[in-house]
Subunit: 157 residues, 2 copies
DNA sequence: TCTGAAACGATTGAACA
DNA sequence: TGTTCAATCGTTTCAGA
């Protein structure tokens, strides 16, 4: 996949915004030692080049009443229907993540439900209703120990 | 887990910010038909009550050079070291998510690596170096079909 | 819980080094 | 790429309903 040239200042900008998407550009500017307008221009470039995909508020699912988080591995009868299956999965709002994977399953999804009953109806009435699914395995997350973003500094320093 | 009373306006505010954490409060105010000050007060309340955990810039891992995304299921020899193991996993920057789960594994992590070699060294030199790990299984994500946030409207309307 | 007003700070675009 | 400047717009707080 195409890459983009990102220098130390870009990485610093990303690092700040990855932990707080609403950090004022002027505050970043002060920390980076350049002007606010320069930060603005760099962020615009990062945005246009596709490095920045967007920003999100992070909410606590449990506080909103979603007490159950689960991962489901999905095995298809026939890999040719992979894309159609993804489209069907996308229509299920409880599913927040969907991956193509190697190994025992073809697809792997993450979802949030209100309770176990909600998980069961989502699995049985919505997911298993999709034609071509051979088997599934559900892994219930008892607790999310942590969740964070990529550590940009892992890269070429 | 404790829940909080959230009305339709709160849900509308969250809905906007979940897809764009930098949306100006005044714009939300216009869409909700109340003043900017009221939006500010509501967001402050949602923040203080723990519904809002923070905000994040979403970056494309591939654009930053992280070509490999994987999930690893981890089985421990002894569940009593669960918390210590989480602490050790937290120190590995490549790991972005860590769950306690039911089933075949005790822990389940998501990580990003630069390439397969990086994945292998992270697994062998860092993860398997943690004492008490019995077995692991790695699922490589060939592609993330989609990733999004909880759909707030799943709830009580 | 809302509003409007006022003060302050941030964003954005243009012109230029 | 960077800078400064100026206009516009957003944020935040407070008093009061």
């Amino acid at each position: 996949m195409s890459q983009v040239v990102i220098d130390a200042i870009d990485r610093k900008i990303l690092k700040y915004l990855i932990t707080n998407a609403r950090m004022p550009f002027l505050e970043i500017a002060r920390k980076c030692g350049i002007s606010g307008a320069a930060i603005h221009q760099r962020i615009k470039k990062l945005d246009e080049s596709g490095v920045i995909l967007g920003s999100r508020l992070v909410v606590d699912p449990k506080m909103l009443g979603f007490d159950v988080c689960a991962y489901i591995g999905i095995r298809l009868q026939d890999v040719s229907i992979l894309m159609q299956t993804v489209d069907r999965l996308k229509q299920i709002p409880e599913i927040v993540e969907c991956h193509f994977i190697t190994g025992t399953y073809n697809l792997f999804v993450k979802l949030y439900c209100v309770d176990n009953e909600h998980l069961m109806t989502t699995l049985c009435d919505r997911i298993l209703a999709i034609p071509g699914i051979s088997t599934t395995q559900t892994y219930i997350s008892l607790n999310e120990a942590f969740q964070r973003q990529i550590y940009v500094d892992c890269l070429h320093d």
